[in-house]
């Protein structure tokens, strides 16, 4: 594989900008070219949010082409379904098990899709779908804001970067007093992907190699 295109998605306020910055700088630290761009629109919270991260020896466009993302890292289920058309056939979808209904659903004007419908949408493009319990793990840890580090932990198993590189990049972005809890969240994310594989009886994922 010549490149790694990663689309991160979720709801504004879930810490995706920080996560994609950490990821981008980790890749830069080991010598890759990196481009990343976020959809920063109106209002700080609550809107549909995406971040494009592209890693290769040379990157031109900061935006990923539809149907060419290698990995979809979704912090919320509806957003995973909404942006799944960016994923390449057979790509990897890592989806946090969280339903955060938008206002139109709360007001009864629209319907939140069922888990089966979301899986069906994702399965049109790939069978490599990992549902992970990021929000519940982060809540148990005592700080929901660690969700982004949990999700990075999940995706780290598919990327050619050593844990120490992730640690250095994280340390540059987080104040010292919350680094420990975030390191734990990162580790829990890695564990979660491994255990999904154990449950399926398949070997743990092999790292994607970026030439």
């Amino acid at each position: 594989m010549k490149k790694l295109d990663l689309l991160m998605t979720g709801v504004g306020g879930q810490g995706i900008i920080l996560a994609s910055n950490i990821l981008g700088e980790a890749a830069l630290a080991v010598g890759y070219d990196v481009k990343k761009t976020d959809t920063l629109g109106m209002a700080q919270r609550g809107g549909s949010f995406i971040s494009h991260v592209r890693i290769a020896r040379k990157v031109y466009s900061p935006l990923i082409k539809e149907g060419e993302a290698d990995i979809l890292l979704a912090f919320e289920k509806l957003e995973a379904a909404r942006w799944s058309y960016f994923l390449k056939p057979g790509g990897i979808a890592i989806v946090n098990n969280l339903s955060q209904p938008p206002l139109s659903v709360n007001l009864g004007n629209e319907r939140y899709p069922s888990d089966e419908e979301i899986t069906k949408i994702l399965k049109q493009g790939t069978d490599r779908i990992y549902f992970v319990n990021g929000s519940s793990c982060a809540t148990k840890l005592g700080d929901i804001r660690t969700l982004n580090m949990f999700m990075l932990g999940c995706v780290s198993l598919f990327m050619p970067l050593k844990v120490s590189i992730w640690k250095d990049s994280t340390a540059q972005h987080l104040p010292p007093n919350i680094q420990k809890i975030n390191t734990i969240a990162f580790g829990l994310g890695r564990k979660e992907i491994r255990s999904v594989h154990l449950r399926k009886g398949s070997p743990p994922p092999s790292r994607t190699v970026v030439d």
Partner: protein
Amino acid sequence: MIKLLSGNEALAWGAYHAGVRVGAAYPGTPSTEILETLSSFDDIYTEWSTNEKVAMEVALGAAYSGVRSLVSMKQVGLNVASDPFMAASTTGINAGMVVISADDPGIHSSQNEQDNRHYAKFAKVAMLEPSDSQEAYEFVACAFDLSEQFDTPVLVRTTTRISHAKSPVKLNRRRPKPVTGLGFKHEAGKYVMLPVHARIRHPLIEERLVKLKSYAETSPLNQVFWGERRLGIITSGVAYQYAREVFPRASFLKLGMSYPIPKNLIHDFSSQVDKLIVIEELDPFLEENIQAMGIEVAGKEFIPRAGELNPSIIEAASQRAGLLEKTSPQPKLEITSELPKRPPLLCPGCPHTGLFFILSSLGQRSKLPGAKDKTLREPKLVITGDIGCYTLGALPPHSAMDTTACMGASIGQALGIEKAGVRDKVVAVIGDSTFLHAGITGLVNAVYNQGQITLIILDNGTTAMTGHQDHPGTGISAQGKKTKAVELESLVRGIGISDVKVVDAFNLKALRTSLRSALESSELSVIIVRGDCPIHVRKRSEPRVINTDKCNQCGICLLLGCPAIQNDNGHLYINPMLCTGQSCTICQQLCPQQAIGPQSKIMDRVLK
């Protein structure tokens, strides 16, 4: 040192290393981080100006005084600043002056999609367009040099995907020591634009343009990348990156300086390729300039004019135009269009929520979820709106805004609607930062012309939508230092308005009472609705909960549009991660069943 920087950060670093001494801006997406980054450096004066016009004038004053200056703004900001921008072009400068315009193709956070490249042609100044962060860093330095060499302000034009995309930057320059002995040059013929002087300046501007054209021919800012000669592509900015990805084997003429265009270079390039196309975002700016040279070129006949480009759009358009072979179409995923949308919302604990709920109910704009009567009554009130987070009040469930045009327009529009003889009471809604930016003159006009409108100033103590920048009302400078605060109520009273009320944004009853009395009055009135932005002050306390024994699922709390209040198949609950608690309590005040309260109290009652 290599850093992963956004285009905006790189522009600030570039200016800093080019020796800029004065920076001024008004926040506006996608330009805001330029001045924010510049303000984090020592040894430079930066300010948030009241608006872009003032910012441009501050930068111009500094440039007259022999100091390199920078002014940055979003695309529509240059409309506001266009008067001093044209003046700057006429007078020229003494030290380098760079104007950065960050355009917003795709309208991520703007009111229009204008292409500010036209401003370079209009003002007859040079324009540079970086295509990534490294170029942003380098081009700014070049812009300062050109500004001094040709006695002109230089426009650096970016777009959202340049300003808000991160890529690696080699920070390989150092900040020069300040040049001493410079000062304001007393030169009335150059700086006092009386007709007699301006008439002398105009031919000089035309001469300058000729010189800039000849510079463009050999400028290293314009680059040719030879590939196959069958297809030649002329492009600039981020469109270059997309085009390079879609046509990896084509030949490219990349214009880093996109005004004035290098005619000989373009003739030369076009003569060496079989087919010439232009790939550019928004208007056919380069294309029309090239067509005017008599060169056959295609572009906007297949590349869309509206909306942000991306590689997928360019690829599909090029396939339709027969420039690319059609790839086997991927099976299009189904269902995604039927998914519920997730538009941005006012945040939990937002000080605008209560006011919009009241405006919505007094203005007959909303109905309860599941209400039997599906039709809404005829809306009452005319509500003119303005630019800020609060523009979201136009969306359901509030639907409490009837117009939004540009910064400060709510007040003038409200007066116009009243003077047109509309029977309904007219209410203008504007934020604190927007009022200071462009609302004051409109209000003075309403006083002078005996308006009877009600103006609501939503004072959340910050410029929230662009990420919490300070403004003249906050008492904090761009560098985070304490300064004098302009008090809104004194200002409003000072221009002769006597009916001025200040209301707590989180007191629903007070909001309703004061709004009712203002609507009944035939006098010009101002209500300042004051409450902190919760994202800015980060105040959180014990979240509210809904007592399910008392809740009868009437759903009125959902009409607040608070993202913390959620509906799980008719079971209403408050997401404790989102609720800000005691600083808000709007839902608690609203609930007719008194079913909402702090966790501790609700649990007490349940136990009793």
